[in-house]
Symmetry: C2
Subunit: 208 residues, 2 copies
Amino acid sequence: MIRKHPKPKGREAIKAWNHNKIIEASIEVIAKYGIAGTTISRVVELADVSRGLVNIHFKSKDILLKEALNYMFAEYNNTIDNAVKKAGSNPVDQIKAIITANLDPSILNKKNMGVWFAFRAQIRSMPEHLEMVETRDKCLTNHLLRIFETLNLEGGYKIPVKSVVRGFMVMLEGYWLDFHLHPRNYDREEAKNTCLFFLAGLFPKLFK
Amino acid sequence: MIRKHPKPKGREAIKAWNHNKIIEASIEVIAKYGIAGTTISRVVELADVSRGLVNIHFKSKDILLKEALNYMFAEYNNTIDNAVKKAGSNPVDQIKAIITANLDPSILNKKNMGVWFAFRAQIRSMPEHLEMVETRDKCLTNHLLRIFETLNLEGGYKIPVKSVVRGFMVMLEGYWLDFHLHPRNYDREEAKNTCLFFLAGLFPKLFK
DNA sequence: AAGTAAAATGTATGAACGTACATTTAAAAT
DNA sequence: ATTTTAAATGTACGTTCATACATTTTACTT
């Protein structure tokens, strides 16, 4: 049962509170059972609300799924944007901030990865969600393209930016997958260091 | 409807033929609809066999899923082992062979990736399949550990082998994910070159 | 304190699910 | 040709699913 905060007062507030409770329960259920394994019964049980309430708040199961996914992505995009902002103007610091953010427990945790890979796995049969996934990809790609281009200029490198950005993102996502499969003995520090190690191969002066 | 080969003669042969037809149909359905979205009805329709036959060949749905997964993994492990063998004794050639094999259409295709990520997504709620996934990981890890250690010796490098192997595998898998999401405009050559580019950063003399 | 409208509840319904099993089909043996 | 028996079929059953909606509860208004 999800009950992070006590039940608030006021009709509107209670409604919003229940709405949120259902979304968060859905996320947890998706993470555990996958998209097709997510049933209203499981959501209802975890959210501790009545069966009918889900139908009132979300016109259909599909809409509920979509809102749950959206909820999660918004969090991710915010986290990354903030991390880059906080890192200041140094591109190397920005890269490090992005790596750290992507490996931080607030992003890289069982629940998030469960949902993440559940959606990615089913993308073939639910192409309507592809857009949302790609929006997240673009958020990260844009940051990285800009940063690596700056690195090229500042360091006098001639690294093929597009390929390296893709390779780098692919690596980050690979580490997510690694965590998803083996959350127990996962070493965030090692993952970070290996990312930096690979980058140091390409930009020796900057990442050493 | 799956009918690669004409129906054979002989009771045993027909039985085996149907068995195979059901497994291959299952793989296709899993790839399209995910684990929980895989229903007997869908498998039966695609395999073009009677509803009851699945129950006779596979005691339960779980067992069918397990056999389908096993079928796919066996193919993968064979392909990799053969690729390494064919590459000869040069470690750089072996690495290249592994990259090429992992990006080859016989491995990296919509069907395989659909099943692959479907299982990985659901691993949390079906831990009984973790073992099979890890067997595949070990097959690849063992090859790579040996090869990178040889590279260290031959080239006089002091690369942290374990980390690099993990980073490299993570990268390969990241490219699988990339393909899974965007099979249309996927560039196998570029993926291969970027892998080599990252390795060239670590082993400059060898991968240039 | 009484009335009212919004929100939440829980039961009902039909479709789809996995599985069991009596029946039919057809390959092999006589 | 007839018999035998393994293999395949298709219906039937109990369960679980998403959804609809009449009913009850509860926060707000008067």
